[in-house]
């Protein structure tokens, strides 16, 4: 009788766990679908107005499945995109990107215990833990890297935040080592930007930057217009290469932005390209 009771309890636990996993999968699928719908919408203003509703929805899904790594990643990505591209007020940007990074950290930590506390362990230990990452870890470390990078940018007045940049670069390097075409080669775009942060006179690596940008363009078959915009803004301006700057931006402004998976980003890229073209005479 006792054995039966124990078995029943165990069965109930397994069932409960299966149910919650099913719900988590469904909600995670919904979150992914929301993200895809947003990224394929070219109406920047409508997307900006709609995202807060989806953020509340995804937050509530995470409340229901707080250890779902895929939901946490979706929450991190959407909060991150919103803070980076749609919020003007600095204090709100910080608040939302804090939440995004919190989700990304949790997701990575639930994925693999070695990915907990990656921001606070000594740098040498960080590097050795990262070596253990395999192909299955790419979504976790990539989301952490991208969210962290945006968080650093938003918190660039905080020197403790800026110290994390080297770690973000290593995370993205690892993603590229494992699968450089992941997320249409976006890791190359971020690495290109990071390599162009410092001019060569201060130890920056313009050649490395250029190679990453060209790889990002090549992997996306030229569909990712943001790669060209960041290439112009970060590399061409740093190198004072006005011809390259203008060529890249003219390409972007003349391209069809409505390419599946890149629609929102390409519309944002065209807007940014127009701003860069307008400010070019002040720069060169």
């Amino acid at each position: 009788m006792l054995l039966f009771k124990r078995l029943a309890c165990l069965m109930a636990l397994v069932l409960l766990s299966a149910c919650s996993s099913l719900i988590a999968n469904q909600t995670s699928q919904l979150a992914d679908n929301i993200s895809i719908a947003i990224y394929n919408n070219g109406d920047i203003e409508s997307v900006g107005q709609a995202i807060p509703t989806f953020l509340v929805l995804i937050d509530s899904m995470i409340e229901g499945s707080p250890e779902s790594t895929s939901l946490l990643r979706a929450g991190a990505q959407l909060n991150d995109a919103y803070a980076g591209s749609f919020v003007e007020q600095e204090s709100r940007k910080k608040l939302i990107s804090d939440k995004a990074l919190g989700y990304a950290r949790k997701s990575a930590c639930f994925e693999r215990s070695g990915f907990c506390d990656l921001d606070s362990i000594p740098f040498t230990e960080f590097e050795s833990r990262l070596k253990a990452a395999g192909a299955g870890d790419i979504p976790a470390i990539y989301t952490l890297a991208v969210t962290w990078l945006n968080w650093i940018q938003i918190h660039s007045d905080d020197w403790s935040a800026v110290t994390g940049l080297a770690r973000v670069e290593r995370l993205l390097d690892r993603v590229v080592e494992l699968d450089d075409a992941y997320d249409n080669g976006m890791a190359h775009l971020y690495l290109g930007g990071i390599a162009a942060l410092l001019p060569p006179a201060l130890g920056g690596k313009p050649e490395v930057s250029r190679e990453h940008f060209e790889k990002a363009i090549e992997i996306s078959e030229g569909k990712n217009l943001m790669a060209k915009v960041v290439y112009a803004q970060m590399y061409a301006r740093m190198m004072f290469d006005e011809d390259l700057h203008q060529t890249l931006l003219q390409d972007v402004l003349g391209a069809d932005p409505d390419v599946p998976n890149f629609v929102l980003m390409n519309h944002l890229a065209q807007r940014q390209a127009a701003e860069l073209m307008a400010s070019a005479p002040d720069y060169f």
Partner: protein
Amino acid sequence: MGVKIAIIRVFMLFLVCAGTVHGATIKVATLSPDGSAWMKIMRAAGKDVAVQTENRVKFRFYPGGVMGNDEVVLRKIRIGQLQGAAVPGGALASLYPDSEVYNLPLKFLNFDEVDYVRSKMDSKIVKGFEDNGFVTFGLAEGGFAYVMSRRPIVTTKDLSGGKVWIPSNDPSALRVVQTYGVSPIPLALPDVLAGLQTGLLDTVASSPIATIALQWHTQVTHLSDIPVMYFYATLAIDKKVFKRFSPEDQATVRKIMGQAFVDIDRQNRKDNEAAYQALLNQGITLVSAEGADREEWYSVASKAEKNVIDKGYISQEMYQEFEGHLQDFRNQAGQIRVNE
């Protein structure tokens, strides 16, 4: 004969052209990366100057070292290709050696001393630059450099046993570290991170801001708490060019750029203090020399300082004035402490 006159005319035209500033644009080069706090403030001030002078004076900036290192930039100013540079004070030392008086090794104990001495002497240094061909708009703090290493550097012997970086072509730094018995490894700035990563170097001296911005913080584990050198930077404009503007426009530029440099000066102090704390938060260990070990650091620095003064790198007059202000402050501070 006709040809000769034509040549003279062309030559005269050249002389006339050389006497004007093309489009009244001051071209300024700097190593500072675009997007840095410095560049943001200088660009904003440049725009303000253009508005206030109704475009009679405009600034165009070349950030990130695109015009070459400080030495090359000064050469370009001499031939008129550039009109100004935002550079560390040391870059102008060949024109005005006394400007390096603030850079004497281990001279300041803390920022209170810096603030007092600078309040007395900045104007003298600014005047010194101007007497030697460059109009500047105040000095902006670069901060204190601290010794940072992969090993705890507590005593001067710890330092002399290290693989210590100094900037290439920096005779002042070479003189100082040699006094400490160090055989340094001179490297250009862009190569330092790789030097640390490969083990060619294990010790650098740098400000907290620069350590983080250049990512050296990922390669060091210890920070020694003695400020080994104070440094500053300035925006220097070729005086010949500046004097061609009307007195009203000169006053406008001085006012706007002067305020910009007050802002940069304050911001850098805040940033360096925050960056120092950020380094410690990153797990870098603070090491401190105590008692005789600490005194040894200062006593060797005094020898290096004596060498600089005896050899006339900095004039006796400048040194005595500097020393007088520093002692005044220490006496007053001691008095305050006694009274407390």
